[in-house]
Structures are given as C-alpha cells and as structure tokens.
C-alpha cells in the first residue's frame, strides 16, 4: 500500500496540477469569448474536477503507474517461473500477490482522488486569480458541487481502483517467453486498464445521468 501510494504522489501531483492549470485557462479563455463574466468558472471547474476529471484522470494515472508496475512485477515472476515455484510449494499466487494489491489499490484510489482534486484546484485557483483576475472567494466556491457529485465520484474510484490491479495481474500472469513477454504484458496492462477506465467511466456517468444523480 505504501509503495502504491507514495510512489504515485509526485506523479499524480504533477499531472493533476497541469490539468488544473489547463482546464481553468481554457475555460476562462473560452468563456471570455461568449460571456463577459467569469464568476461561474470557479464553481463549474471545481464541480467537474470532483465528478468527472478527478476520478478519471487519477485512475488513468494509476493505471499507467500502478497497473504497469503490477504487470511488470507479476509478469517477470511468471516468466522466471517464480509463480510456478509458488504453486509447487502450495502458496496461492493470487492470494499472496494480488489480494494485498487489490485492497491497497482501492484505498489509494480514493486517497489520491482527494489529493489530486486538491492539487488541481490549487493550481487552477492560481491561474484563475493571477492570470484572469477572478476574485479568490468567487473562484473557490462549492456552489457548483453537489453531494451526488461526490457520491458518483467515490463510486467511480472504488470501481476503477478494483479494475486496475485485476486487469494488470491478469496480463502479468499470462506473460510468456522471457523479457519480451514481460514487456508485452506490461503494455497490455496499460492499454487494457486505460481503456477499461474510460469505458467504465462512460457507463457509470451515463447511468448516473439517466437517474439524475
């Protein structure tokens, strides 16, 4: 759990900060074209960040950082027969390797979501107030965020956090044939988990929209 969380912190901070910067920049810039008024930018930005971009982008990053890591690890264990060696000594590789990572991934996904949203909002506030001169108090408003946004986002976090280690470990265990096989498994884990996150995100968002959550 420590390694999943700690190693991803700097990475998540960096990517989410740039995401926050760009979203506010684009939103303000586009808004200036149609509206004279930049007051909704902050609340809308925070709301979208919490509900849409927060879970999605954090999950995408977790998929590249953690998913690839798990696949690389289990993959190299598979091709060097370490998994087989476990089986002969009666240790269950899934129980031994996957279960701890599965639990850690779900918890860290939620933690990193909170952290990522905070970083992105901080970065967004910076550019909103300094570059576009929006009042700090107007910008940092939760009026665009509802409890249902939070619940939907939390639900997404749990689902994404669960899907990533399963997909990654699966491609790791299926690795064959030396170092090339490990490379393949890692690639497959990244692509599958990135795509699955986007697909699940779409499904959850659509259902949530339909039910008016």
């Amino acid at each position: 759990m420590y390694s999943i969380g700690n190693q991803s912190l700097v990475f998540i901070a960096l990517t989410l900060a740039f995401l926050g910067l760009i979203l506010v920049y684009q939103a303000s810039y586009q808004a200036l074209k149609v509206l004279p008024d930049l007051t909704p930018v902050g609340p809308v930005f925070i709301g979208t960040m919490v509900r849409v971009f927060g879970p999605t982008v954090v999950a995408l990053m977790l998929a590249t950082r953690v998913g690839a890591g798990i696949a690389a690890e289990t993959g190299s264990m598979t091709v060097t027969d370490q998994i087989e060696a476990m089986k002969v000594t009666n240790a269950d590789p899934v129980e031994y390797l996957v279960v701890p990572r599965f639990i850690a991934s779900i918890i860290m996904m939620i933690v990193l979501w909170v952290f990522g949203v905070l970083v992105a909002v901080a970065a967004g506030t910076l550019i909103g107030t300094l570059r576009f001169g929006i009042q700090l108090r107007t910008f940092l408003s939760l009026s665009g965020t509802t409890m249902s946004d939070v619940w939907v986002a939390l639900f997404k976090c749990v689902i994404f956090g669960a899907a990533i280690p399963i997909l990654a470990a699966d491609s790791g265990f299926k690795a064959t044939g030396g170092s090339e096989g490990v490379g393949w498994a890692t690639t497959k884990a990244v692509v599958h988990s990135l795509f699955t996150v986007i697909l699940l995100d779409f499904l959850i968002s659509s259902i949530a929209y339909r039910f008016g959550w």
């Binding site: 760009i22 920049y25 979208t48 690389a72 090339e180 490990v182 690639t187 692509v191 986007i198």
Partner: protein, 263 residues
C-alpha cells in the same frame, strides 16, 4: 568508497526524485540530439525499417485509438449534460464537446493511449533487444543503432500520432453525437449545428500541432527508457512502467505550454 546515505524521509525522497528527474531529462536531450544528427545524415536513412515501423505503429494502434476517441467524445457529452440540464442551453452542447475534444481532451487521451500502446511496446521491444545483447550485436556488425532503430521509430510515431489524432477527433465527435441522442435525448442535429456554428478550426489545428509534439515526446521517452534497460525480464517491465509514466507527465506538460503559447 562511501555509501550514499539512505534517507527515507519525505524530503530526502523528494530530493532524490528531482535529481533523477534532471538526470533523465539530460539523457533524453542527448538522445534527441543524436536523433537529429542521424536525421541529417540522410544517406544512412533506412527506408525498409521506416516503412515497417509506420505500418506496424499505424495498424497496431488504430482500433484502440478509435475506440478510445469514441468513448471520450461520449464522456464529454455526458459530462456537459449536467450543466445543459441545469441551464437548458442545449445549443451549447456541440460547442462544449467540440472545444474539449479538439483542443484538450482529444489529443491528451489519444496521446495517453498511444503511449500505452505504441510507446510502451517500443520500450519493451528495445529493452528486450538490450537485455538479449541485440543492440550490441548491431554495433558489432558496424550498424549504428540510433540511425537504424531509433530514427525510423521517431519519425513514424510523429507521423502516425498526427493522423491518428485527426481520425480520432472525427470518431470522438461521432461518439458524442450518438450519446447526445441515446443518453441525453437531444437531437443530433442540434449537436452538429452547435459544432459547425462555433468555428473550431483553430482548436482543431492546435490539437494536431499538439499531436506532433506528443508523438515526438513519446518517441524520445520510450526510446530512452528502452535503451536504458538493465537486469533481465524484471528490468524490461520496470522500463515500460517508467516509460508510460514519463510519457504521461510529458504529455500534460507539453499540452499546457502549447495551449498557453497558442492562445
């Protein structure tokens, strides 16, 4: 010889991260220079290898890019759906989805997907060649690995990501249109009209420019980590991991700077 002090504090960790980051960036710049030098020596250009790479990269990533793009477009429409429902401004949906897809979300997500599919694969391939001594074998045969292996990949990735982004944009808008009808229950014509009315040519071109830079960045990052591999199967996996992570950071950073400079 003194052993480096192992600090496990947060600050020490942070400092180490930064030092490695600078070393990595330095090494990548060197690689970039070597690529350009090889590009100038046009007589060494390997036509066969370039065609192979173009074909492999394009075919390999087209399905996944199309699928991603379609869902990304759909996702953007659903995301704007909440605000449209709140304000009732259905005409804005085409504009919102179009801008987002063309200028930011489209290039970024297609870039991420490309780095996962092509970049990671490239790192794995080169890394395997390193650990199995195939790179040394090239050198022993008097063939320059940069000219023979890296330059064709560099060019193929730039070209292919450019086209894939253009195609992806189209599919993203289509995905958005279908979702507009199916999930939001808004007539597709309103959506398409919204896109046409909002004159998004500049955003579209900016997205393609981004794709060129993303392609170059992914190529350099993935080749760098591939050539860096040490330590067998485990090393290859770790390199792929580093490669996708660095590519993601590079994509978000390059994206920010291009947007700011463009507008």
């Amino acid at each position: 010889m003194s052993k480096p002090v192992e600090t496990d504090s947060f600050l020490g960790n942070f400092g180490r991260t930064f030092i490695t980051a600078f070393q990595t960036v330095g090494a990548m710049t060197l690689l970039q220079l070597r690529i350009f030098r090889s590009l100038l020596a046009i007589k060494n250009f390997d036509y066969d290898e370039s065609v192979t790479q173009l074909f492999k990269i394009g075919v390999r990533s087209l399905p996944v890019v199309i699928a991603t793009a379609a869902f990304v477009g759909a996702l953007m429409v659903v995301a704007s759906g909440n605000f449209v429902r709140a304000t009732g401004a259905t005409t804005l949906i085409g504009w919102a989805a179009g801008t987002a897809v063309f200028s930011e979300v489209g290039p970024i997500l297609i870039g991420l997907m490309f780095s996962g599919r092509v970049g990671a694969n490239n790192t794995a391939e080169l890394g395997t060649m390193v650990v199995t001594n195939q790179i040394d074998a090239l050198r022993v045969l008097g063939i320059n690995p940069i000219g023979y292996l890296i330059v064709p990949r560099f060019m193929a990735m730039i070209v292919m990501l450019f086209f894939l982004t253009a195609i992806g944009d189209l599919f993203a808008l289509t995905g958005g249109a279908i979702t507009c009808r199916a999930v939001l229950g808004i007539d597709m014509r309103i959506y398409w009209q919204g896109i046409l009315d909002s004159n998004l040519l500049s955003e579209f071109i900016m997205g393609l420019v981004k794709a060129i830079f993303f392609g170059g960045a992914i190529a350099i990052v993935s080749c760098h980590w591939g050539l860096q591999v040490t330590g067998g199967a485990r090393g290859v996996g770790r390199a792929v991991n580093d490669s996708v992570v660095t590519s993601a950071i590079a994509i978000f950073m390059v994206n920010f700077f291009i947007t700011v400079l463009w507008t």
